[in-house]
Point group: C2
Chain length 150, copies 2
């Protein structure tokens, strides 16, 4: 069952002020990054500048291996990998909700992207308040940590 | 640049009341689905039941091809693909924010998952209110449609 392989294609690249995973911030940053979508996909960005926020999905190309129980920087206990945002995962897909600053043709400047320089982009989707903004949630172990107010 | 291929592995499967893409609802549903994570990954779900919501990422395995300008069911104009949630994309990755109903070992029952029966699961991440809930957003063309209140 698990040996089905899924193949994805890079549709763009992230230009980040962070050159290495050690420099990259945890969970978002105010420093702007530029998402360059390759010209062959540029038409698909039409009117994206009318959105204040969008989802971006990328491939954590420097991720190597994973553990199912994870020590995070936020507390002293280990947690199930799928309750964390660790970049080390069976499928190292990164996902950020970013704020759009400006768009110039196939380049979009955004805030709140914690990817490093050269990260491959795999998808962009609009942030839809009705489905995506959940104010009444319980965030498990995260609620007991500083990550809630980081 | 674009010919770098990224290979993903199926970590589970979705059991849905919707058997075909024609039956599947648009943008979420109250009908429960069951996410079965393969046993080799089960430990990574530890304590996920303490979260009320999580992100699930899946492979839209029945997607075939795409257009960069898309006619959605929500209005009469075409829109840039990346401002839509169309399942027909260069990389057909599905993403839903689901509500956890119950967990039994490696099976999680959820609400608000619009995937069809047999959809491969590729990742799960926790929903973190601070980073993921954006109440003050502008949703472009979507704001002029019924999708805002659907």
């Amino acid at each position: 069952m698990t040996d089905m392989k899924i193949t994805l294609t890079k549709i763009g690249i992230i230009h980040s002020p962070y050159k290495t995973t050690k420099e990259a911030p945890r969970q978002g940053t105010k420093k702007p990054s530029v998402i360059e979508i390759f010209e062959e996909y540029q038409e698909g960005l039409k009117d994206i500048e009318e959105f204040s926020h969008f989802h971006i999905y990328y491939y954590l190309h420097e991720s190597r291996g994973y553990n199912l129980m994870v020590q995070t920087p936020w507390d002293s206990e280990k947690h199930g990998l799928f309750t964390t945002r660790s970049p080390h995962r069976p499928n190292p897909i990164g996902h950020s909700i970013v704020k759009l600053i400006k768009k110039d043709k196939n380049k979009i400047t955004v805030e709140n992207l914690d990817a490093i320089q050269g990260t491959p982009v795999i998808d962009i989707k609009p942030y839809v308040k009705r489905t995506d903004c959940k104010p009444d949630v319980c965030c498990g172990w995260i609620e007991k940590t500083d990550l809630m107010n980081y």
